[in-house]
Subunit: 663 residues, 3 copies
């Protein structure tokens, strides 16, 4: 485990740099990220580059013993660029161009912007590519952030048409793939196709899904230009990008593919607050909150860690770690001593190998004045600094753990296509892809069973159990991959709404679950949304599985599968199908917290998965690297869990490490 | 009673058509609506028409014994049209043009669109006008739907100026009619007048009302072009349009006038959900809901039926009948066996003579993938099919009823001018024209007294009692029509806010209720909005009339009228005025549910109107055609009412027919 | 005390004018405001002026004995002007130009509009400047009303650049003052700077604050043109403008500076309803409401009066006084007899010397049809008229009071810079500048201690106690002014978030409270937002000061100051610092109602400030002019307070005057 920090030398007097660099080293920081918003300082006028300040800054930091990670500055182009070329500005779904004065306001498909973007990266790499103090590069900053993931400008319209031509070759194939015969939408020429912006009241779901894919691909392609430039000019340095957890608008698997490893920006009071509304179940089903007011919801943060872990299936970094209050939430509570340490141990437990704090010192100006750093505005230490000192003392312990793999036996499948398709057609307005996944993830966490989020295309063979809360769009390739996993001895849980759609977001005309029907050994004979007040009583021998199935229910007909549960009126609710050496469990309803707990207990027991701890109370979370179980108590009071039959009590807002026999 | 279905041959392989047609006939369907969204298929390029597929489809359906109703396809113009002529696109109140990719995105006043629209209808009529299998025509689809009722483009601006010139002749007359001297709004030239779009923060109510009238007239004129073309080329066929119940933006009386009869699109879980918020009284005054979760609010559906019945005062069709779950509500609950039958009997009871289900088979693609049909996506029967079979067995019983007139002795007046004027100037934000009418309609339904919604211009003489919850804009013609109705023996109830406005939406400078003052025999000496917590106690000999009058109260001064109720502080609250052979009852306050019940009981008794049933519990509704009273139980449990002194119990979600002596 | 009325002769037949004028005089009215919306009538075509009607109107009114106050008509330009010159139309932050058909739809920086605006005022002044019946002039109407305070058109962009060049001289100084190095925002040319409209997602706070200042200055400059024209042509007449109480978008101190005195538009049911949401504390902390449903919140109205009093620190007028129901609230309740009298006495008690009712007769047309006047639409007296008669009988009593100064010993500091800065960066979303001030003002009112709202630049020496709930942006000038006030014997209370910002909205890099640190004798070592459920217990000898400090807490370190309270964990919560002959009390937390009461009791006692009454119950408010204490009971029942040890009971919705010994 290494610690680092984000630093903005351009924002402080040059005279101060050496002091800051010395203080960083003295406090145990080893890595420093710089320069990712300094384009205007690097290129103060079109084609005029000024590297003197950055030469000096890098030298000062490197001399002090810090490893430097420069960021390419393309997320924040200079005023002269958008002033001279206003068409570089991104256009929102309402048709209005953005404006200089913030960041991420340009279009990734704009040729002019691409030209300037390539040039600044080339110049930067040419100058610093072989600089000894530099260990790796960050590309841009938080792709898609600030609702920048989708642009609707005329350059995007043209690029979208190219993208479609490559995908469908003939306009007739596109018409078929989108079902444009409906409402007379048929296109007779590529030129008639527009981005599905808000001028269209009700949009064609296939048109939308392709546009979302295109927008994501546009960013991937944009990033690739920088990857190529950096790789060719920076021998031995890593290339990464800072990702955004449960962010929805970009396919983060695609974006991660060409990078050496993933880093992400972890703001435990901000991100969970932002994601909370679309993750939590209806109020009456929520567990009482039992964590401190300044730690954020640790299970939501954990799910983000486990998605980041799944992007490349290897350890990741925290490129920006909250180390005090932030400025972009609703309340932005002050952070108390000890909290930053919990967050860092939590990140480590889920797979982080390095953590950089955001930021060194609070900014005196502009949009993030109220965002704290390790230092206050006046230069004194803020709350995170003491935690850093505590952790420096624990660093050896941490390093032993980062050498160990994260222990995970369960995977949850995650497909951005499904997320986007269901976002646009939830059928019931409160159905949300992440909420559905979170119901399973949350329960696993509460049971002490770690999980990772993976795409279907990943190698699933290491996992005893794979959950697909929904696998909505299914292509023959997806069906084959799952068939292979199961036949080789895997266990797949398949939830509602699976197999409903084709690859281009049409409904299958085959009996449901469509291409997964043979694998599951069931036919879905009926599906429906249901108000919470209604419901079908369940009958099952699975312990604890009871109460009405509601919200979303499907009637299963067991073909080759065996029923595990029925609805009171007779239809089958859960089945199990043996396929080769493995099994598929089909779950015919959207479960309540208690129901998902019963089902998962059954599956875990069936697959000999041992929870890391028993009787985990709310607020206490468990993870494991190598042979060490890490308990983290996010509550205000001591909490006790059982490990190997022994009660282990963790102090309030503290951690405990327990050596366990490897399983 | 005939059954039919909406079918989209263009959305299915040609090889399937004959199978579908055969199945339709086998399941008892007799009518099929087609083609209303198939413009791109009929005219794949500008001026190139392809009728081969439609020839074949009509032939296939007709050969199978189905009566065909084609729709003109003008609600969904092809992509090549808006691509070549972007100015055909409708502009919203925020100034943004719509875009291809949905429906209803064109402007009815655009000359180019009008040209293409006329041409496709002419071509279609020329080809199919005398086709034997075709029994009638639907024009366009749901005029005004999807917020398309009002366009703000430059063609509309010009057409609006023409419309104003015809109405006012001189700009000075317009200035007077709108009161433009206020805030220096005076126009010196027609060219200065713009549509009242959202660039104006606070709009002149007379300007607004004239624009709403103009927009409605624009659609009426647009429709008339098609009516003329169809009438001239389709001898013996009917012409209709599918209306939208309690939809607000188009004057449906005007739109219905040139048609043979009215049809409407009845979605009992969707429409009431959409209308509910502006119909229900404040929470504390609501009756407990006692109907099943998948039936929708039957009294709201009933009010829509009774408005549709009033449009032409003759039986109507359901052109689109929900027959399973829909896709455009908040929850879109699954529909259970038996529900579709309730909806059909309900429609019949209120005056429907034919019902077409929407749609034959669920769409595999595009915007309505989640809308169910009689068949599922995979071709199996969905829930509505079994209900259809039940009803086919009951069809003879149904036919005897459709031969009989709907029994109605009470009319509720309905003026779109009033709806629009009060929508823009509710004075208290929660005052709503339909909500106010619904308070009366709902109570009549709960009492077992049928009602029809009619304009003042209708022949009111058949009705013993006419309710005007508010008659807000009053012209001399309106006053004269009511005078005549009452003098000839009618009984008029006149509610609050009546006679307040002139025909151009100015306030009268005469004592209130203005032009109705002599008829009512009262002067309103004071009116005011009042918070629910305040109120004036009532004193009256009308049984059950008590509690505070609040929300909206008016102090009446009985001139020639006789007081029937007073407020505790002395002013008169209700009066009755004898005029010729009739009576006018003036109601000086917006009544609570209990108060409106007391007042209506009094009026019903006074006019010898016999309720269809006594002690109707919530969930059970009653209607009557000829000598048969139809009871429909929308609740989950058996309910009992009293008819002719006898208790009649109707099973849960079932109906009962009771032969009664004609009155 | 004089009474008057707003009259619109152009809206009524000329034959009616003399009748209206006579009735006004007979009912005791002495002043009449006219013409402020009659531009189209004065100049019906470009350059063609018609004064005949206004000559006649002024003559009629003056002949009847009324003093006339014309308004310049520039808030409502004619249709021909915006039709011929559409670029005069104001542009909103979303980029859309406004449109004719309302008022305040033009841009104060548009040169064309300025030309026409100057000309109509010049013409008007030339004709009526020496008219004997005219006593003074109102400029325009409610500057900034209807969200018109900020325009984002290209003329504003250009004027903003000029304004910035004057302020900063060099672009580099602007870059420093805004901290544009952040996110690469650096400007290399003035031409690159745009108004911070909604095309920017996250805006630079210094950019925003300067734009708000610029917009406010633009209106001040616009007004000054009219001030100059009127002053030069109307010898001996006053010049004023009608202000808007707690309105936020214009610096009302600046706007008031060149005027003779301030008038404002007092709508006690409308304004408090509009302001309420951002003034009241969280629900659980609110006092039960105990005032009648038709009077509005009297303490909010009182705070508006006391801000208006502070604008010029002299008596003011009510230019528009609500005298019945209004039309722009949510419910617009009817007003009962007696209420208008309460409002007028309340205004007088806080410093009003004349009251003009809005309006003489309710309008028959246009946007304000539902706004009542002294006369109803049909010409009969409405509810306010009887109250006016009551007050005419009390007028001598009132006049004795208007000759006396308002008794005020406490000032609350008010800085629009701070309001705007905190509006854009509240840090916790519910932190609001006025809400914070209101917590103090409300408590003073409930304690019977009058207060005035003043800018730091005012002469504070007359006030025993000056409260600065927050003094956020602090310049050396501000620090010096406060130093001088305190050193000369004053007592300053300094609340949270003080001294945090520089004059250009950067964070100070000095220890907090920055430039106020020496004056306060404390250092703020930590600050944080805190959820209400958390909190730090207080320990203090100040009676009644207890319970947790929460919401916003700061840890103080007493440097030269003495601690008055601590948090349970040891940090200092309140201090007192002696400076010269005075004292500074520093309050380290955002107080609850009970806490602010305890602190203010302590300060009042310390400074020998005697409340006007003891045990004031909610609903009863107290003020004093000269030696007379005025009690006003806004509740529905009699209420009793203690004055000089004697219980004084005031009847429901009535007033009482108590002669007291001057203090």
């Amino acid at each position: 485990m290494k610690f680092g920090v984000c630093y903005y030398p351009e924002q402080w007097p040059e005279e101060r740099w050496a002091t800051d660099a010395r203080m960083m080293r003295e406090t145990g920081l080893e890595i420093v990220r710089i320069a990712e918003f300094a384009w205007a300082k690097m290129e103060p006028a079109d084609g005029r580059f000024d590297w003197t300040w950055l030469d000096k800054a890098i030298e000062t930091l490197a001399t002090a013993g810090l490893d430097v990670v420069p960021g390419t500055p393309t997320a924040a182009p200079p005023a002269w660029l958008s002033h001279a070329h206003p068409d570089v500005l991104r256009v929102d779904a309402n048709g209005r161009a953005r404006q200089h004065g913030t960041r991420r306001h340009t279009c990734p498909n704009n040729p002019t912007y691409r030209h300037y973007s390539r040039r600044i990266v080339q110049e930067m790499v040419q100058r610093y590519g072989r600089e000894p103090g530099i260990i790796g590069w960050q590309i841009d900053n938080e792709f898609g952030g600030g609702k920048s993931g989708r642009c609707y400008c005329s350059h995007c319209a043209a690029a979208f048409r190219d993208w479609l031509q490559k995908r469908y070759s003939h306009i007739r194939a596109l018409n078929d793939a989108w079902g444009t015969v409906f409402w007379s939408q048929t296109y007779s020429d590529w030129a008639e196709i527009m981005p599905p912006d808000d001028r269209i009241d009700k949009k064609n779901p296939s048109h939308l899904l392709d546009y979302y894919r295109f927008c994501s691909d546009s960013i991937v392609v944009y990033q690739q230009e920088q990857v190529d430039i950096i790789r060719s000019g920076t021998p031995g340095r890593f290339v990464t990008h800072n990702f955004m957890g449960l962010f929805r608008d970009v396919n983060q698997f695609d974006l991660a593919a060409p990078l050496d490893f993933v880093t992400w920006d972890n703001y435990p009071t901000g991100n969970p607050e932002r994601w909370h509304g679309r993750l939590q179940p209806p109020t009456e089903q929520r567990e009482p909150i039992d964590y401190a007011h300044d730690v954020g919801d640790p299970i939501i943060t954990g799910m983000a860690h486990d998605l980041m872990a799944g992007l490349r299936q290897r350890p990741f970094w925290i490129m920006e770690q909250q180390c005090g209050h932030i400025n972009w939430g609703e309340l932005n509570p002050g952070i108390r001593p000890g909290t930053v340490r919990l967050w860092c141990w939590h990140a480590l437990a889920h797979g982080a190998d390095a953590i950089l704090f955001f930021r060194w010192r609070a900014s005196l100006f502009a949009q993030e004045q109220y965002h704290s750093g390790l230092l206050r505005h006046d230069g004194r230490a803020d709350v995170g600094m003491a935690d850093l000192q505590t952790m420096v003392a624990e660093q050896e312990q941490m390093r032993q753990l980062t050498a160990q793999p994260v222990h995970t036996q369960v995977a949850i499948l995650c497909q951005y296509d499904d997320l986007w398709a269901l976002q646009e057609q939830p059928h019931r307005a409160d159905f949300d892809y992440w909420r559905h996944s979170y119901a399973f993830y949350h329960t696993l966490q509460r049971m002490g069973v770690p999980a990772i989020l993976l795409p279907v295309t990943a190698d699933l063979s290491p996992y005893k159990l794979v959950l697909a809360p929904t696998l909505h769009l299914v292509t023959p390739e997806i069906a084959a991959a799952l068939q292979q996993y199961v036949a080789a001895g895997g266990h797949l849980l398949l939830g509602v709404r699976s197999g409903f759609k084709t690859g281009s977001n049409l409904v299958t005309d085959a009996p449901l679950p469509g291409l997964l029907r043979e694998l599951a050994g069931v036919t879905v004979t009926d599906w429906q949304a249901m108000p919470m007040a209604a419901g079908w009583e369940l009958r099952s021998e699975i312990p604890g599985l009871e109460g009405p199935a509601t919200y979303w229910v499907e009637s299963l007909q067991a073909d080759t599968a065996v029923p595990l549960a029925h609805y009171a009126h007779g239809a089958t609710a859960i089945t199990e199908n043996k396929v080769g050496d493995g099994r598929v469990t089909s779950l015919g309803f959207y479960p309540t917290g208690a129901q998902v707990t019963a089902v998962l207990r059954h599956l875990i027991s069936q697959n000999n998965i041992t929870p890391l701890a028993d009787n985990l109370p709310p607020g206490l979370v468990a993870a494991r690297r190598g042979g060490v179980t890490i308990l983290i108590n996010f509550a205000e009071r001591p909490l006790t869990a059982i490990i190997n039959g022994q009660p282990i009590t963790v102090a309030a807002r503290d951690i405990a490490l327990i050596e366990t026999t490897k399983t």
